[in-house]
């Protein structure tokens, strides 16, 4: 009997090592050639950008930039040369960067959530999204869960909020840095759902594409004689559906099912033979 045995497991481990090793070593060699005599292969984690995060900010004269920690602790940041550098806060999870500029009769605000690494904060991102950070906000509902992100083709939901009230039946626009624009209107609960446009150019079907682009969800609202212009910005990536095939997945699972059926029949026959 070949099923439930260690041989298939051996084949599986070998296949994984061979497939994983070849590309791992290839990347090690490339780095070694470029960087001189490297004795140790480069750690994969080094490929993650773990330095301080930097965000570009244009026309920011007079703007107040605030970094909100997961526990709602706040810290003011100073933009330099049109860049905001996010200092390490020592705790992980989502942080909010809020840029506000008060013109007197109007207030412009940009909110962005960034995942930062550190010791476990023990705080839920819900706490951060629920907090009123600027009078009019486009709030992700929910934020992409920790270690996830927005992808093209996927649906993303947002809630429009003025202080602690939702903005029902209110217009909102999603725009991307790839040039797409989608209009929407919030429902009676202030919620709007967009399908993020699949607008990356030159995507090759079947090949992994790790490009990212920016999306912004913006709305305007007037209250007490003040015009509020609020934008939520976030990064989104190429949909993995471009290199992941569901029909093939179903087909392979089907082959596994048929193979399982074949094995159980064989076992049954074997048992009958043994019984005779």
């Amino acid at each position: 009997m070949i099923w439930l045995n260690y041989r298939p497991a051996l084949v599986m481990f070998t296949a994984l090592v061979v497939s994983g090793w070849s590309s791992g070593m290839a990347s090690a060699q490339t780095q070694g050639a470029a960087g001189g005599a490297e004795k140790k292969p480069p750690a994969q984690a080094m490929q993650h950008n773990r330095g301080p995060k930097r965000l570009a900010l244009s026309n920011a004269d007079g703007a107040v930039v605030t970094l909100w920690k997961p526990d709602l602790g706040k810290r003011e940041l100073e933009p330099k040369m049109g860049m905001i550098t996010l200092p390490p806060t020592g705790v992980d999870n989502y942080h909010a960067i809020v840029v506000e500029r008060d013109w007197g009769d109007s207030v412009d605000a940009i909110v962005r959530y960034e995942y930062m690494r550190g010791k476990p904060s023990g705080e839920s991102p819900r706490k951060l999204t629920s907090a009123v950070k600027t009078p009019v906000e486009v709030v992700p509902d929910p934020l992409p869960r920790e270690h996830h992100r927005y992808y093209s083709r996927a649906e993303a939901a947002f809630i429009l909020r003025y202080r602690d009230q939702v903005l029902a039946n209110h217009p909102v626009v999603l725009q991307t840095s790839n040039g797409s624009s989608v209009n929407g209107v919030s429902d009676s609960e202030g919620r709007v759902v967009f399908q993020i446009p699949d607008d990356f150019s030159d995507v090759v079907p079947g090949e992994r594409d790790q490009r990212g682009a920016e999306l912004s969800v913006s709305t305007e609202y007037q209250a007490e004689g003040v015009q509020y212009n609020s934008v939520l910005t976030a990064e989104y990536r190429v949909s993995p559906e471009h290199w992941q095939s569901k029909p093939w997945g179903v087909a392979v699972a089907g082959i596994g099912f048929v193979f399982g059926g074949f094995l159980t029949r064989r076992i049954a026959r074997h048992k009958k033979g043994g019984a005779k």
């Binding site: 260690y6 994983g20 480069p42 819900r126 869960r145 179903v250 399982g260 094995l263 159980t264």
Partner: protein
């Protein structure tokens, strides 16, 4: 038999409750990882399931090997600091594990529940069941779960963190785990049942995962708990089973050598329950503390499920008689028998 007094019925109800909680529980406000119940559950509740209320301990272990310990070793840092997150996860795992021991497999695990439901389906469809897997096969299969734990949960992710393997092998067990496909499909999300052509590694991993998922369903129709036998969580449980408060205890009687009903009832085919005559603690490495062996033991107090010092369920000849009868009635009720009865009725009625 009164279903409320039937341990298997009680267990099924607990399993279904746990399944609903773990697979759909985000409605209770646990969408984000920071809100999960434990973050290191001793059962295969999947982190890829966006609606799940918890995640199993194996995913943080893999991530910590890849993103923490590996880089710390590579940079010549303090290994204890590199191990600290793993120790915290292990500590959390143990706090919960002590409470239920290996019963997390037999009573809580969504994948275990699914396999039992598929087995009931197979039985009701009248498919020929394989009551016991050949002892030789059982013996040969046992090391596989240890190899998967050592290599896929700790080894490959650590090698990835050290830079010897590519990043797609950072969480290889999750990539092949049937619970990932099952729990996401249960939420109407087919994004995990795919072949991923991003790299050779992802192709191999997704082919294995999809094949294993189909294979598990087909086998579960006739064989009891096929994936549980190679599950690394079962191996991890086996390491710490001595610290759990719930245990299977045996007071061997001279009749034990002849009977063997307990081993036949065992869904994991642990024949040692029947042959062990000396040891009192018979919570063997493959045991899931389902309690079926206790139910089908005909001798008074020979097998017991004990919580610390207190027996919670004991073998009893009266219970055995009623339970065995109830089992026979249950097994006779298949779609095939129902169909033939209807046909007979159709023939006899004018």
């Amino acid at each position: 038999m009164n279903p409320i007094k039937n341990l298997s019925v009680i267990r099924k109800l607990v399993q279904l409750g746990a399944f609903l909680l773990l697979v759909y529980g985000s409605a209770l406000g646990s969408f984000y990882l920071a809100d999960k119940i434990t973050g290191a559950l001793p059962a295969l509740s999947c982190a890829y399931d966006m609606n799940g209320s918890d995640l199993c301990a194996l995913i943080p272990f893999q991530h910590q090997m890849d993103h923490r310990l590996g880089p710390v070793i590579n940079q010549g840092g303090d290994i204890l600091m590199g191990l600290m997150p793993t120790l915290i996860t292990l500590g959390t795992f143990l706090i919960f594990f002590v409470v239920l021991n290996k019963a997390f497999c037999g009573w809580i695990c969504p994948l275990g529940t699914f396999q039992e439901l598929v087995q009931i389906l197979g039985q009701k469809l009248g498919l020929q069941r394989t009551e016991s897997v050949d002892p030789g096969v059982v013996q040969k299969t046992r090391p596989v779960k240890w190899a998967i734990l050592a290599l896929l949960v700790f080894g490959f992710p650590l090698m990835t963190g050290l830079g010897y393997l590519n990043h797609d092998l950072g969480d290889p067990f999750c990539k092949i785990c049937p619970s990932r496909i099952l729990t996401t499909l249960a939420n109407g999300d087919a994004s995990q049942l795919v072949v991923d052509s991003a790299s050779t590694t992802t192709i191999v991993l997704t082919l294995i995962a999809d094949f294993l998922f189909g294979l598990m369903i087909a086998l579960a129709l006739t064989v009891r708990q096929p994936f549980c036998r190679i599950c690394p969580m079962l191996a991890l449980h086996a390491v710490f089973r001595k610290v759990g408060l719930l245990r299977l205890v045996k007071e061997a009687s001279p009749r034990c050598g002849k009977c063997g009903l307990c081993a036949k009832a065992c869904p994991m085919d642990i024949k040692e329950i029947h042959t062990e005559m000396v040891k009192k603690d018979v919570t063997f490495e493959d045991c899931t503390l389902c309690g079926r062996c206790v139910e089908f033991c005909p001798d008074k107090d020979v097998l017991k499920l004990k919580y610390a010092m207190f027996p919670v369920f004991k073998a009893d000849p009266q219970y055995f008689k009623v339970r065995k009868k109830a089992q026979s009635v249950w097994e006779k009720r298949t779609l095939r028998s129902l169909f033939s009865k209807t046909k007979q009725r159709g023939v006899t009625e004018p």
